[in-house]
Symmetry: D2
């Protein structure tokens, strides 16, 4: 018997990715696709502008789209691929009606009683769920995953914390799929770079402090770390590449860094968990988004070019699949963790 899952925002880029990743999922099966008012009642396969593979998977192609109304949805878990402004109301509505919401939206990420989770980084933050339910008097609850750029970055920062990480500066080269569909016009990005992504730097500079913080039984104490980001859009379909400059309290060696990266453990027994959370490549010209984004079925972060940067610094390049590890796959992994932890 599989858990029933429903998807909020099923027609967008991340919604499509949820559907693709859930097509043959061993634990979850799609029981509902929710869309905005004007699409309710329409057939998913006829309505969606499907862009992520050859065809809409058969299991959802004939589904009639449902309203974003908790009373009309039959599901154990609700995945949310909603834009943030819509998510605020809709996710709360579902949580208050008893649903477990695994959300990719930014609306609730920084709320003190909402867990913001990457399983391999801070699974103990799930305990915030009790606080949340107590605070909000909801029958269900919301668990969020971070922004796509944050996830790739923080997975690499986590193992560096014990080495005395203090300041992180990061310049990103972000894929087109991060802007959704239709998203970036081709005339804007062909033979071009756009050195700006609205709201992105703020997310990347704040979310890591919560993710790398510690749960004290009541709330998250933010990590003592400074993160500065410069975010840029590049003409790449999938895969965010990040050039990271990391400063430490004390001397660090490249070998220590590699060891730290490779020691980050996957969560055992979760179907979406990759064999290796971080893959370190030693070729001088890796990671590359087109070649590396599908590593670990899109769930591994690939790191390369690790080199000293002054006495107390290193620099490196990290890359991860922004709509898998950075979005739909992140929510699904969170849901799997919640099943394992008996939260569902």
């Amino acid at each position: 018997m599989k858990y029933k899952v429903a998807i909020l925002g099923a027609t967008g880029m991340v919604g499509q990715k949820f559907i693709q990743l859930l097509e043959n999922h061993p634990w979850f099966e799609i029981s509902g696709l929710m869309a905005s008012e004007k699409r309710v009642g329409k057939i998913y396969g006829s309505e969606v502008d499907w862009i992520v593979s050859e065809r809409v998977p058969e299991n959802v192609s004939e589904m009639e789209m449902l309203p974003m109304d908790p009373r009309k949805v039959d599901a154990d878990i609700v995945f949310s691929a909603l834009p943030s402004d819509v998510a605020k109301d809709v996710e709360a509505r579902f949580a208050s009606h008893g649903f477990v919401v695994a959300s990719n939206a930014s609306a609730f990420r920084m709320e003190p009683d909402i867990p913001l989770v990457i399983p391999e980084v801070n699974q103990e933050h799930l305990k915030l769920v009790d606080v949340q339910k107590r605070n909000r008097d909801w029958d269900g609850f919301i668990v969020t995953n971070p922004n796509c750029t944050t996830i790739v970055l923080v997975i690499t920062l986590k193992p560096l914390m014990e080495l005395g990480l203090k300041v992180v500066r990061m310049a990103s080269m972000q894929a087109l799929s991060g802007a959704g569909y239709p998203g970036v016009p081709s005339l804007a990005i062909t033979d071009n770079i756009i050195p700006f992504i609205r709201g992105e730097e703020d997310k990347v500079e704040t979310e890591p402090l919560k993710l790398l913080g510690s749960f004290d039984g009541e709330k998250i104490r933010f990590a003592d770390l400074s993160v500065s980001a410069s975010c840029h859009r590049v003409p790449v379909i999938d895969g965010h590449t990040e050039a990271v400059f990391a400063e430490f309290e004390k001397d660090v060696e490249v070998d220590e860094i590699i060891d730290a990266f490779e020691s980050l453990k996957p969560i055992a027994d979760l179907p979406t968990s990759p064999e290796r959370v971080i893959i370190v490549r030693d070729e001088p010209d890796r990671p590359q988004p087109r070649l590396d984004r599908d590593a670990g079925n899109g769930m591994s972060v690939v790191v390369g070019r690790i080199r000293k940067d002054g006495e107390r610094g290193v620099k490196y390049v990290a890359m991860g699949h922004n709509t898998v590890r950075g979005a739909a796959g992140a929510s699904i992994l969170n849901a799997e963790l919640m099943v394992k932890e008996k939260l569902i």
Copy 2:
């Protein structure tokens, strides 16, 4: 009467750019195109794989290519677009035979008695020419311009020096033309980023120290500055984009930074000098290489997204045309300055 100029390495990407920029130059006219052994005696227009515009300019199309032999060349100035390994011998040979060599090659840039010059940044370094001629017993001399990525960066760093600039971290997104022709294979870079450019980071981390240093009458005292670079290739034809994180000794404000950028003065009366050396854009999404690379006929550096980065830091994005301001135009501007300074 125009000065006669000859071009070493005339068939490559930068060689083509020299020809394009010199087509209607008011001071210079092309008197010779030098190429490698196997092309000597061939007609330029039939031999070159011309890629920078519709057609090979008429003034050079029928020229027979010359050997890289000073005795066969009649010119007041020799521009060099040679690869570094070839440049070492050839440029020295021309200089020793009395030619003024304005070189874009890296071979001599860091030699203590060879000027490495950006006119608006360190024109006084041209005085090294006397030291050079004395040291080397050459009748001519060599003046170099920096690496393309360095030039764009250093033009923005120069006005920040007085504000107490201490540490610079920079992540570049570099254009395809920087790798020459054929250069980067399309299969390597379509829907992709390559996070590595051989030798580039080393140049970008050392050349600025010389450029921003001071001439003490005998040699250049290097600037007290630390530069760290992470260099990446992106699918853009022309225009290097650079995300800069700058740390200062003391607090700085965005307004001071803008004032500093806008106060960098062009050299008066040089034909290739742009009206504005640095153009500051206040739109949130500029500079963009495709839209901004031709600003100031490709000789302006365009800066945007200037924002605070902690108390003592700022971050910004700079962009410049890598084969104009960053290569052929740089050498031509140096030559113009030498004419003005009566070195030619």
Copy 3:
């Protein structure tokens, strides 16, 4: 004294191109920019998403946008870059109020009493203006130019008509700018081709028959020719490339075809007219959109790869700038011709 010109649809891709081409026009100066309801009263430079060059030209940057109301506009000529559905009403309104409308929209192109004109192809069709004014009882009149793909094709077909052209099959590879802005999403076209452009094939198959037809004093008698098109979108910014297979009534030789192409004469004394209407390239790999689209300031059509195709056929590749020769430049050239012919 220059003629005053106003632009309908000034913020779109073609509207921007009108502004760019008119910036320093010797005969015309922009007196008004008309936009849709919600933009009326706003400042052009702040409102437009300017995408065709570094900056909005100064002469229009501060203009307040006007409604599409003939009573509010002071102009000798109105250029229309409207979408077809809007054009139907608006252009008629302007023409009935006495304006000369030079339109790039498709709304009126195939109306029997509306001239559809490419100056070098069928300038005598301008005589339809008298019929039009008589029929419609308008004080002004409308003159249209063809679809962008049609223009490039028909300029090459015109000189072939005398050689007995009978059947034309054409497969196009069309640039992104033809779809306007935002137009084609980057996710739809990166590493991809879209083999469909709505409504395009129908235009390309019918407009040539009118353009190549003859005016009998009352109406256009359509040319006896069959045109079949297959239209495809490719990841190219500007420049439509067309692979043409042409069948004739009798044997033709490549030399005749070349002579015919090169004999097509420009209209003398029009500022926007190129020196050569068709440029024949003999290199095996031309025309190429990026290298050739600016030939003749974007007003030449470049042809290459002319080769026999059976006894009575030839095939060749034609390429032209779709937003210059194929849109804004086409309308401007028509307007210049009307000035020369004293229609304005």
Copy 4:
């Protein structure tokens, strides 16, 4: 027990694709990788510039490369991904030494006694092998597959032959991978089309006549058909798109054409055979290379936009994966057929 297969030209683009497709092949296992002189003795994984996926498959990564010498190779089948000029000698040498050579090279395709085969189109041509062995006194033999563009085209032409197909005109939009690696320079094709591929049109115009011809017991009688091609390179990684104009002897209807396409049967029980040889899509904007090239694991040809073209004509767009169905997959399918037919 699997058949041992060795690959000639293992480091190139098609060689890599052979390795990728053979990684877990149920019938074949790689026993040798042959490369040019300078690579012999080197380790494949260290030497190859692997570009088709994240990593070189483990089964070949540590293999030492062999010379192209039949005495050094242990294999039941030799796959050839050699360039044509090298193939001429090398493939003959292997065939004369008793090897079965399944070749993707063009060297022998049009030789009268060498089968040129697409299993679903003309499997009976394999009988030429007897003629070949008799003629050439070889212990082994060569079987070739067509050019990548030809394959996609001919698979769609085969079912049309019975409807009276007479003349085919085809304009291709071909992927970068067709030019091998490094192949097309990025500076040549970014924001561009190259309307020329050396030798391609000649292959596409002649190979179909052999493929669609009939074996009369001694030789192939060429089909009575005229094919004209115009071949163009576009910035797409994989997947050749072809706009086809087909003329018939008599009236044809779109429904007949669809039925014909869908009736082309796959060869039963071959592991690489797709479920559907031709997939007809009825959406107006398909096929698209990025979305459709992996249909049938890259072995299906996807057809769309089928429409009348005059009374006796139809036009349509076909697309197939050029390095799978059009190259490595084609040779492997031929080898599988030979196994089934007991030729191996």
